[in-house]
Symmetry: C2
Subunit: 205 residues, 2 copies
DNA sequence: GAATAATTTTGAGCGTACTCGGTTATGAGT
DNA sequence: ACTCATAACCGAGTACGCTCAAAATTATTC
């Protein structure tokens, strides 16, 4: 059958299809019940595979969350980068990046916190973990680019300030103290801290 | 027996003695093998109590680590605060606080990381968790006090900058990327970031 | 197309943190 | 002294993430 030249074989297709089922099952269960309330057994059942198969596709439950959440996170970053490009002020542009990320991570607070926890404390050798770290790298780069709009600032400082802003975001999205706050309050807190960081207070504002 | 007026009863004493045994057992096992390599059963055995009893005194394994590590952390903070008091420059004084904390948390890197993880993601209603959060509060206050030495800086900014410095410390002590670094490298990284932070809006350095 | 190799699938089983119902020790009331 | 309520203690049992050795499926070779 040379007509179907680009069929990568049944095995490959089955594998992809199975991964899709697992991904969907995990996404739906996680977003409906929260990662802690879902067992790997439930995911396996919903995906209609054995538990062994589940862990053949994702080495840990955490990897499953990363796999699912990375997609949403990437979308949030893209929309933020786009918005930042159309924003004049440096602080406002930074916040244009921050805002969708915070929103994304707080759609389901428990999942968002767990995602960030795994990103920092999980095994960096796992595939989806690496992908997640690349995403945070993109955020750092995007923020550094914005800060570099200020001609007085050298690139090295911009990169370092970007990392600091990421740290500020992380703490404000994870610390239990902030769990009961509204999204707007969290964003407000981050904005205040970034403003202080950038030294806006000296000029006036 | 009115002579021993302040004896709080056998029950109280037994309880205290048992808690001591548990604390010692946990401390020794954790520091020798690392928190992940020690089972709660081993701790119970070494303390010579049943597992049920163990969890009567500490609600989770994480609480056990907090219980043990809070003591060391408190010592590190005290020594840092003392050293900072005798240090002239603001950056140097801040680093005098940072240095012993980093050292303490990296005596056994796995335990230090887990400690910080639980501090951020654990149940804030548990007793030892609260104690731990108070300690980080003390660090923030101490740093804020140092920053306030600069007469130009108002207290609100000092407090906020202190929180940012804590965030910088946290990331540098927890992120997997930094696990393979030496203590000095980590401290150097933190110093660079704090310098950038404090100098972000200034012209020179 | 048979034989062989490679990959994928599976669920019973394991280790471990933690629970729970029953038991025992302690001290207050009389 | 005796009773009784309460606090402390215990370990068998549970839940759940994850492993592993064997089985099933797919690819490859001759």
């Amino acid at each position: 059958m040379p007509a179907e030249s680009r069929t990568p074989g049944r095995r490959e297709r089955n594998k992809q299809e199975k991964l899709d089922r697992i991904t969907s099952a995990a996404r739906e269960l996680f977003s409906e019940y929260g990662v802690d309330e879902v067992t790997t057994q439930q995911i396996a059942d919903k995906a209609d595979v054995g538990t062994g198969t589940l862990f053949f596709y994702a080495k840990t439950k955490a990897e499953l969350l990363l796999l699912v959440h990375n997609v949403k996170y990437a979308e949030a970053i893209d929309s933020g980068v786009t918005a930042a490009g159309a924003t004049a002020g440096i602080l406002d542009a930074v916040m244009a990046i921050v805002q969708p990320i915070v929103a994304c991570n707080r759609v389901q607070i428990e999942n968002g916190r767990t995602y960030l926890r795994e990103l920092v404390f999980g095994d960096p050798d796992e595939h989806h973990h690496k992908v997640g770290l690349e995403l945070t790298g993109r955020v750092d780069d995007a923020i550094a680019a914005i800060l570099s709009r200020d001609g007085d600032r050298n690139e090295q400082d911009a990169a370092q300030l970007a990392r600091i802003i990421s740290a500020i975001m992380f703490i404000n999205m994870t610390a239990t103290v902030f769990m009961s706050l509204s999204d707007d309050s969290v964003i407000g807190n981050i904005r205040d801290q970034v403003r202080t960081l950038l030294g806006a207070h000296r000029v006036g504002v």
